[in-house]
């Protein structure tokens, strides 16, 4: 079993250093206290009803010792934590900025080249990135255990964090601040890519990036992946239960009444429009909160999602 998650950012090791330092100190004190506790308990266990005990009420020297020594150690812990904290909070000047918007319950990443992705963050290996973050609705928190970074996203205010990924790979991103029903589904992946792979992705030849194998997959399977990875799952169930948005089960061909009072039958065009520009026709009884996926999903991906939705009988 791994004690700590993967060490995948420049300061992750240093954070672990603080963790280990405090842990070792704690263990020393814990052992000291426990051993004395158990030793005293058995050594001085009551033998007879009239055991004689000494009348000891205190000891000035001891009091001073166990006030001063912990105080010093506590100050050292504080200082050590502070030094690493300073580094974690000070992004280097050359850090690449990524705009992060969190909303119930998806992550939207906007890159400097104008690209944007949902629930997938692409960063380049060994290149510091700075996240400039904002929440749309309620508090969220950007947490990547492998990088040892966490920062709340607050509506109406920008917060930031930075990291320098030092290991190519795929990492989990959690929302760590409670944000409602879909909180535990508000997950994303961070892809740390080699410079070559990253620039290929940046140029956009490989829109699906991660789901690199996607092209070869059948549409329905691709749709299912997209449903899980692009955040649909947080609001739209596939088992008929009503969430924040309507369930996708048996949605195709259904008659829906809209907020403007009209009704329509759900067909491919309606699905496409509702994915790309959700606010155009909102089903009555639901709030117009879905983000627009125009410019985020490719035509092929929308097609795949529609095939998938059709399959949900």
């Amino acid at each position: 079993m791994n004690w700590v998650p993967e060490v995948a950012s420049s300061f992750a090791g240093k954070v672990d250093g603080v963790l280990w330092f405090v842990t070792v100190l704690s263990i020393v004190f814990f052992i000291l206290i426990t051993v004395l506790l158990i030793y005293f308990s058995f050594k001085y266990k009551r033998k007879t009803e009239n055991d004689e005990t000494p009348y000891i009420t205190g000891n000035q020297t001891l009091e001073i010792i166990w006030t001063v020594i912990p105080s010093i150690l506590l100050f050292v812990i504080f200082a050590y934590g502070l030094i690493v904290y300073k580094e974690m909070r000070t992004p280097p000047g050359d850090a690449v900025e990524v705009n992060v918007t969190a909303k119930q319950w998806i992550w939207i990443f906007k890159y400097q080249n104008g690209k944007s992705t949902i629930n997938e963050l692409f960063v380049q290996h060994n290149r510091p990135v700075k996240m400039v973050m904002r929440a749309d609705d309620v508090l969220h928190s950007f947490f990547v255990p492998a990088f040892r970074v966490k920062q709340d996203l607050v509506p109406g205010m920008y917060t930031q964090l930075w990291f320098n990924p030092t290991k190519v790979g795929t990492y989990d991103l959690f929302c760590a601040e409670y944000c409602g029903t879909g909180h535990s589904q508000m997950l994303a992946k961070v892809y740390v890519m080699s410079p070559e792979a990253f620039s290929r992705w940046e140029k956009g030849d490989e829109e699906e990036g991660t789901i690199g194998t996607a092209v070869t997959k059948a549409s329905e399977e691709l749709g299912k992946d997209l449903y899980k990875n692009k955040g649909c799952i947080a609001c739209h169930s596939i088992d008929g239960s009503v969430g924040v948005g309507p369930s996708l089960k048996a949605l195709f061909g259904k008659n829906e009444s809209l907020q403007d009072g009209t009704t329509l039958e759900v067909d491919e065009n309606y699905l496409r429009e509702s994915i790309l520009i959700p606010q155009a026709k909102v089903v009555s009884g639901f709030a117009p909160v879905m983000p627009a996926f125009k410019g985020i999903l490719t035509d092929e991906e929308v097609d795949a999602l529609i095939v998938y939705i059709k399959s949900l009988k």
């Binding site: 004690w3 998650p5 004689e52 000494p54 508090l139 947490f143 509506p155």
Partner: protein, 534 residues
Amino acid sequence: MANGTAATISEPSFLEYKSGFRSWFYTTDHKRIGILYLVSISIFFIIAGSIAIVMRAELFTPESDIVSPHTYNVLFTLHGSLMVFFFIVPGISASLGNFLIPLMIGARDVAFPKLNLGSYWLYLIGAAILLFALLEPADTGWTFYTPYSAKTNTNVILLTLGIFVLGFSSILTGLNFIVTIHKMRAPGMTWHRLPLFIWALYSTAILQLLATPVVGITLLLLIAERTLGIGFFDPDKGGDPVLFQNFFWFYSHPAVYIMIIPAMGVISEILPVFSRKPIFGYKAIAYSSVAIAIISFFVWAHHLFVAGISETAAIIFSFLTFLVAVPTAIKVFNWLATLYKGSIQFHSAMLYALSFLFLFTVGGLTGLHVGALAADIHLHDTYFVVAHMHYVMIGGTVMGFFGALHFWYPKWFGKMLDDTLGKIAWFFVFIGFNVTFFPQFFLGVQGMPRRYATYLPEFEPLMKLSTIGSWILAIGMIIMAYNLIKSLYSGEKAPDNPYNSLSLEWQTSSPPILENFKEIPVVTDWSYGYGKKG
């Protein structure tokens, strides 16, 4: 303590002198009010504990299979709110404090008996509001963070209103205790002869009195946000959501000490009696309680290191946080030294007191991890915090509470507890607690966020272990509850002073008579004079 009150008393005890509904719900007797609180908080403890069992059962597998994610969110909101506001804050202070303060300082009652009853009624009103709130329970978490709490369409108002009312119950109890301890001590009961439990409750009362109003106004503002549309915490209206967290923790961090200091007081009483030695470092323990009561007001924002507060504030608060650790450490060392060269008897109450020392040490030391800035960034809002907090709250407060129940049971009810059964229950509680919460430290370090209804498969083995632990813990609690109730009927009649304690409450009959003492005792020495002077 030398006094002549131990003589056999023929008067009926406070339990017997009168019966019937009115004699309880209109009583101004501090001991009966203590029992009323004890029963009420126990009911909420059972409800909130059962909710915890359901939550753990849900977390047995990564998927959501027993309850829906929304229901899970409602459950942890209720678990937190009930445990914090209905059980653990009024817990030791209102139940044992009410029962013991006048007895221990040699008074006939608290300073304001009618106000005391009023506090209890307020508690009941708060509880009644809560019952209505349960019809459509909130899903905000017990912290009610804005803007979610201002936006969710569940019923936040009733729950916060109930807590607001409870707040006033808590304030008035604290007020009553401060005045009682200042003005009603028996002749000769100087400050430096006061039992440490009284010092602890005095410190707690200061926190109750001066921290609670801030959460009162904060929750009131939250209610106003939902009803009147004011926007102090609403970014759309120019407000600041993080301000809510500042205000909320201005109360809720001192509240942590409202929960733990009384338990520390209990330990300071139990250890000397069952070691037959004076408490070590009386003044250090007494003053450190007061120091905690003062310093704990300055540390609230260590809950907000990643919330978006300024770095300057984070650094100041981290530093102050380490300050508050010092008095806590001092207490632990003094308790340990009390055992040295004692004559230690493993009564079930003593077992709880010793496990308090053990578990609270774990809870306190892991507090250093989350107090250190860099480490907290990683650990914040993960299971590490959940484990740390439960080690302090269950390993500390609840162990202290159970210890107190086993220790003072003969005095409350005039019956001896079944000590063997008590030890068996302790064993299950101790093991179950550790199996439940120790794995959560590892889960937290590995990055498992809290308040997740579903989780990634890689966390499954430890989550399963934790759930199994919760069952063992439940078994222990059931055995203990059985013991407590059974002994009421079939327990041996308790002598006035079964443990040969020197403290004043043991010098009157068990259970005490209506006005505690036949004559107000005159105190000539402190209550820890065990052992052979020389």
